[in-house]
């Protein structure tokens, strides 16, 4: 009978401290890219045992700083892009539009972040698509979503001495519309549940 012999320079892994592949971090270290891969395989490094905390992005809106989960980076980008809204002057559309007040803008952004972050935290890190943030010629602000799952438009305005958010939406599956007012200071869980269709 033929036997397989162990080569002289072969050394068994120490059995006293067995390791599985899960103990290794197989991702490319940041200092390498794909083309640094060697012909014999990936570079392995030991996985860090430190607990990874979710990272946050700092967002500053007219003196108020928000801490936003980094998974919502696209929303932060949209908000940063919308900051021009408060710089619009009288007649900004050449047809008689009125400016949008800083207070209204801040209220709209605060409202948007409140709902988006709540849904992210409450529903296993569900990330809603970022809405378009558009100024209206009457001094109000539109938040507009058009996603695979649903359509929604929220208009934030100052009317009769208070801030209001009115909405219209429908799921694309049924097109059955819903509309009404949303509480701007507290989470309406029914609305938040519906808004999960906007992911």
């Amino acid at each position: 009978m033929r036997t397989i012999e162990t080569p002289e320079n072969y050394r068994n892994a120490p059995l006293s401290n067995p390791r599985s592949i899960d103990d290794y971090d197989c991702r490319f270290p940041e200092k390498y890219n794909y083309y640094d891969r060697t012909p014999i395989g990936f570079l392995f490094s030991e996985r860090s045992t430190e607990k990874v905390e979710p990272t946050y992005i700092s967002l500053e809106v007219d003196g108020i700083t928000y801490s936003v989960p980094s998974a919502l980076a696209d929303l932060v980008d949209e908000i940063n892009d919308s900051k021009y809204i408060v710089t619009l002057e009288n007649d900004w559309d050449n047809l008689g539009a009125v400016p949008i007040s800083k207070e209204l803008y801040k209220k709209a952004i605060s409202f948007l972040l409140m709902y988006t972050i709540f849904i992210y935290k409450d529903d296993n890190k569900t990330v809603l698509q970022s809405p378009e943030i558009n100024p209206c010629c009457n001094g109000s602000i539109d938040l507009s979503w058009s996603t695979v799952g649903a359509r929604m438009l929220i208009n934030v305005k100052f009317k009769e001495g208070r801030y209001l958010a009115s909405f219209f939406g429908y799921p694309n599956s049924t097109k059955l519309p819903i509309e009404g007012l949303i509480d701007m200071d507290n989470i309406d869980k029914d609305i938040a549940l519906w808004m999960k269709k906007l992911k």
């Binding site: 892009d81 007649d91 047809l95 558009n134 209206c136 009457n138 438009l153 009115s166 219209f168 509309e179």
Partner: protein
Amino acid sequence: MDEKAEVATPNCPWEIQTITDDDFAFRQVPVNLRETHRTRKIPTESSFALRPNEDSLSFNLKAIIIDVSKNFKLMSITHTSSGKFVEVTAFKIFEFQINFLKTIGKFEAITHTPQFHGAPSPIGKPNNKSHLSLFCGEFNEGSRVQLKEYCMENDCECQFDINSIREEIAELRARSNDTPYHNYWEF
């Protein structure tokens, strides 16, 4: 019985026209408001919000203004509230079928409302024989979503090269209020 035709204002020389479902209307929408890199599909819902003191949305009846170039020319000799001529390159024009406008959720009426300010009318304030008013209450979110979706689904943007009428625009502006638009719309 011979009924007297209704007119928009006592001195308006034009009769109110009946608008049929098969007619079309143009609406001009501002486009280059955004100074940042994220793109927008124009029009947005905000393009259909009412301005302060407006109770209806303005359109131009295609049967009277005939073509898009006239709509752009009319805009080009109109003053903004700061007294400058409107920059027409900052606008796009969209075409709507009247039939559709009547299906908007809060639809109340669509009326021919010609605007006559005199003959000649003041510089920067031309007459508009083709003006239409669409009444849909406050144009709430549902109505504005419907208008935007119509544009997206029907590709109703009127393609037009503004450069092709640049010289005519310059000439019209040079004529102050001595143009057909400032008089009785006899072209």
